[in-house]
């Protein structure tokens, strides 16, 4: 791998077996005598190759079901790919969802420790960053209340606050960029822009084309599991928008 490359993906393919009829109990198998199940092969990713440089903001766009999340999950090591090779130099911080492991019955404080641990922070790190997390989330008055008493917005704020303190190295973000009310969204964006100055590598999956256009250096457009186009953000985003409007016109 060339120096300066953060992520290198070579000819990665991933397919899922989707059973025609979901039977995930022994009883159903016995009752239906369906020992040979009928499957449909869904090619989620086909021969995908790309590189992300160190310090680059890399966007991935595409319609629902085009393989964006599958690709992120492979990068995060949650899925294994059927074929191909992924090389990553650096620590991966996956944010596929905000507040992974959050438990409604626990207090905000406990949830910070729980979520922080799951995201890879040590106990000591959480303790030292705790005040800063609470401050960022603006929830100091509610921190010892149960999460179930939080509003939806408060929960994402807490989750986001932990997430930004847990990041290191390469960030994988799946639609988790701007959350909460206007004020908080501004804070999130400011935080995100700071990563650029710090030289962090970010892989961003989003449907928010404007944000992608504004913040990403390069963008990759996925279409049915294949790379339709990779290039400068403006160009690829414009293509994507055109493609969508064409499709709309075609279907009307």
């Amino acid at each position: 791998m060339k120096p300066g490359t953060a992520i290198k993906v070579e000819e990665v393919s991933k397919s899922f077996l989707i059973p025609h009829r979901i039977s995930d109990t022994i009883r159903e198998r016995l009752v239906r005598f369906e020992w040979k199940k009928k499957y449909e092969l869904l090619h989620a990713l086909k021969d995908v190759s790309f590189e992300v440089r160190q310090g680059e903001f890399f966007g991935i766009i595409g319609r629902n079901g085009s393989g964006k999340t599958t690709l992120l999950k492979i990068l995060a090591g949650i899925y294994t790919c059927d074929q191909g090779k992924v090389t990553i130099s650096g620590h991966i911080s996956p944010f596929l969802e905000l507040g992974v492991g959050f438990n409604a019955e626990l207090s905000g404080r406990d949830n910070i420790f729980l979520n922080g641990t799951i995201l890879g922070l040590s106990r000591k790190e959480i303790r030292s960053k705790f005040d800063s997390m609470v401050q960022f989330s603006e929830l100091d008055r509610f921190i010892d209340q149960k999460l179930k008493n939080y509003s939806g917005g408060m929960q994402v704020r807490l989750a986001f606050a932990v997430a930004i303190h847990a990041n290191r190295g390469i960030l994988l973000m799946d639609e988790v960029l701007a959350v909460g009310d206007m004020n908080f969204q501004r804070k999130c964006i400011a935080e995100f822009n700071r990563y650029r100055n710090e030289g962090k590598t970010v892989v961003l999956v989003s449907h928010d084309i404007e944000t992608v256009k504004k913040s990403c250096d390069r963008v990759m457009l996925l279409c049915n599991g294949e790379i339709a186009k990779t290039g400068p953000a403006e160009e690829v985003c414009a293509d994507y928008v055109r493609q969508n409007t064409d499709h709309e016109r075609g279907s009307n």
Binding site: I74, G77, C81, G90, I92, E105, I118
Partner: protein, 265 residues
């Protein structure tokens, strides 16, 4: 080449342990908060069972067995540990699927963290057992016997883990496996020497009962704690020779079968 290669992304054992502990602690909190009896439930379940069984069997069938009640209690406490740990271990991948689907964690840690809860409940029960043993029965096992009992406890935990490693990924594919296991556990409860001593079983079927690993561990524990004696080591050695490789095989099977299991959770 398949798979993913990471540089500078080595797994930190201290953090792994912190994660296991954090998940276990959350389980514990979830289980006992919001119920006003709280932690007392840990004791109540096995002791209600004990009181009923003790009432029925110590008078009806086994009045001739010396110290029947404490033997029964020891059996129940050990059995509950195995039954619970094997059950939650089996369910753990599904129970913690909402985390495994979103972050990359070694999958075996959810099995350990889920069973830790059962282990803690077991230790609380042990305290009561020892109170009975010391104060009521005035039996004071020697250091060697206590150490040996510690080994048996580890082995029961090992057996529960072995079972969990073998079944957790299958449970993801066949969700009614846990229901089947629940029924089997009831059968095994009576097929293990819990409410009766192994000596009450005719010689020719005794060896069948010993196919159940819990049988050996319960009987040996009784011998060490209640009879305050040290059994011959050849049985323990044989047990280790059989189950240690099996445990390794279980871990191997789990690693092998859990590669793509996240997609199915």
């Amino acid at each position: 080449m398949n798979g993913i290669s990471l540089k500078n992304n080595e797994v930190n054992p201290i953090h792994l342990w912190e994660t296991i502990w954090m998940l276990a602690k959350t389980d514990l909190k979830m289980r006992y908060q919001g119920s006003w009896l709280g932690i007392i439930w840990v004791f109540l379940k096995p002791f209600c069972l004990f009181l009923v069984l003790n009432f029925v069997f110590s008078h009806l069938f086994f009045s001739s067995v010396p110290d029947y009640s404490i033997r029964l209690l020891l059996g129940i406490v050990l059995w509950s540990f195995f039954a619970e740990a094997s059950m939650v271990g089996m369910m753990s991948l599904l129970a913690k699927g909402y985390i495994l689907r979103k972050v990359c964690l070694p999958k075996w840690i959810v099995i350990i963290s889920s069973t830790i809860h059962s282990a803690m409940a077991f230790f609380f029960n042990l305290i009561i057992l020892f109170v009975f043993l010391f104060l009521y029965y005035r039996i004071f096992p020697g250091i060697a016997q206590l150490l040996l009992f510690g080994v048996y406890i580890l082995l029961i935990y090992g057996i529960s883990l072995l079972f969990s490693f073998l079944t957790a990924t299958i449970q993801v594919r066949f969700r009614d496996l846990s229901q089947i296991w629940e029924v089997l556990l009831q059968v095994l409860f009576f097929a293990s020497p819990i409410i009766y001593p192994i000596t009450a079983v005719p010689e020719n079927i005794r060896s069948i009962l010993y196919l159940n690993p819990v049988t050996f561990l319960i009987e040996s524990s009784r011998f060490a704690l209640v009879d305050n004696s040290i059994p011959a080591f050849d049985h323990l050695l044989l047990f280790l020779v059989i189950y240690l490789p099996l445990l390794l095989a279980g871990i191997w099977f789990f690693n092998k079968s859990s590669v793509n299991v996240i997609e199915k959770i």
